[in-house]
């Protein structure tokens, strides 16, 4: 469950969007469309609570650490921490169980559990971020360009992650890839 009321974001003089009302419930998947620079990522960042909105308010659930997952193409990871250490750190801070093996198996990264963040390839980093986003099995997950930079297998993993959680999770996808519209139950176009 994630949503917002009367949400608006202004950079300088330009409003990316305004008067935006959303309410995505488990079972639904909202795909955010729009040309480059239309504000998709910004919207997701605001929903995730890492960028301040200019007006309006968001609902992220009781404790965002456990009720919200977020994975974005542009999100870096810690250069010196290994994949496993990322999962352990996140788990200890959130207060959920790390489930390292389980998650790494799901995103097919088990072979790189000991690799440092700065040595991960694009696709490996994307996989790690998926694992981190779903770690606490939150009721709402935000994915920004999930399958960018992923190989065939990786894209299937994205599909599995979404389909297997559909029933109990609300998804918001921001994407430029028409392929990913297949997940949509709802769509919204910005800009």
């Amino acid at each position: 469950m994630v949503g917002c009321e009367g949400l608006g974001k202004r950079y300088g003089r330009r409003w990316l969007f305004r008067h935006l009302d959303l309410a995505v419930a488990p079972g639904e998947c909202l795909v955010v469309l729009g040309i480059n620079g239309s504000g998709k990522s910004t919207l997701l960042k605001i929903l995730a609570g890492v960028v301040p909105a200019t007006e309006g308010r968001c609902d992220r659930g009781s404790d965002p650490r456990l009720t919200l997952g977020y994975a974005a193409l542009d999100q870096p990871v810690y250069p010196v921490l290994t994949v496993a250490e990322h999962l352990e750190l996140a788990a200890e801070l959130r207060g959920c169980s790390p489930r390292v093996e389980e998650l790494l198996a799901e995103v097919d990264l088990a072979y790189a559990a000991g690799v440092a963040g700065r040595h991960l390839s694009t696709g490996m980093r994307a996989r790690l971020k998926f694992a981190l986003a779903v770690q606490a099995e939150p009721p709402a997950i935000l994915l920004d360009e999930p399958s960018a930079g992923l190989d065939e297998k990786g894209r299937h993993i994205v599909g599995r992650i979404i389909e297997s959680r559909r029933a109990r999770t609300a998804f918001v996808l921001a994407t430029n890839d028409p392929e990913e519209r297949r997940f949509a139950t709802h769509e919204i176009a910005l800009g």
Binding site: V50, P52, Y70, V77, P79, L89, L93, R94, G95
Partner: protein
């Protein structure tokens, strides 16, 4: 099972240690700054031996600049790497603050020890009241760590953070230095003990004040989007 607080703060401290041990940048800077500082200040008086009540001033100046130069990176580095958002989504701001402040305190008191040692070796002045000096330095390090960590969070998302951090942190710490210097003087010379103890108490009051307010201010300036 540990309390959630202990677990979260522990996790933060562990993370800081790992990062530091694998990329030794911070401790390198700390070492560099404190060494240069002490050397220069001691050298300023070489040939003529140091008037004991100036010694305290130098000691604190050295600590202040070494501390500010080193610790301001705490949050700035996170934002520059772009990992600040990860912490924001994973952790409770207070846990982040306490974790980083604790690590900063350890780092700072290590620096303080090093600086003091070097300093008295080079400057060759005796101390008449070790307890007072120790207490003042300990409280000072804690206040420094607490304040500079907060300042680093405050500036971390602004432009030209490096300079701004200094501009913000130094004047805020001047009261601390004033009290610390007074305490240090009477600890070294052994004169005006009551005043010395009073300012030592002052240092600790300042420390407690900082540590009491800081987590909430951090939550306001860094924790929220």
């Amino acid at each position: 099972m540990k309390s959630p607080w202990a677990r979260e703060i522990g996790a933060m401290v562990r993370k800081e240690f790992r990062t530091e041990l694998r990329s030794k940048s911070a401790s390198y800077t700390a070492f560099m700054l404190s060494a240069i500082t002490v050397f220069t200040l001691a050298f300023a008086f070489y040939g003529r031996e140091l008037p004991p009540d100036a010694a305290s001033g130098m000691l604190w100046a050295a600590l202040l600049f070494a501390g500010v130069g080193t610790l301001t990176r705490a949050f700035v580095a996170e934002e520059e790497q772009g990992t600040g958002d990860l912490l924001r989504m994973w952790a409770h701001p207070h846990a982040v603050y306490w974790g980083k402040a604790l690590f900063a305190f350890l780092q700072m008191s290590a620096t303080a020890g090093l600086v003091t040692l070097l300093f008295f070796m080079l400057a060759g002045v005796g101390v008449s009241n070790y307890a007072m000096l120790g207490l003042a330095l300990l409280g000072g390090s804690a206040a420094l760590a607490g304040m500079v960590t907060l300042v680093s969070a405050l500036v971390s998302r602004g432009s030209n953070r490096g300079t701004l951090a200094g501009v913000v942190a130094l004047p805020l710490l001047v009261p601390l230095v004033a009290l610390g210097v007074t305490a240090g003087r009477s600890a070294i010379t052994g004169l005006a003990q009551p005043a010395g103890w009073a300012s030592c108490g002052g240092v600790w009051c300042y420390t407690l004040l900082v540590l009491a307010m800081a987590p909430y201010q951090l939550a306001a300036v860094w924790g929220e989007p």
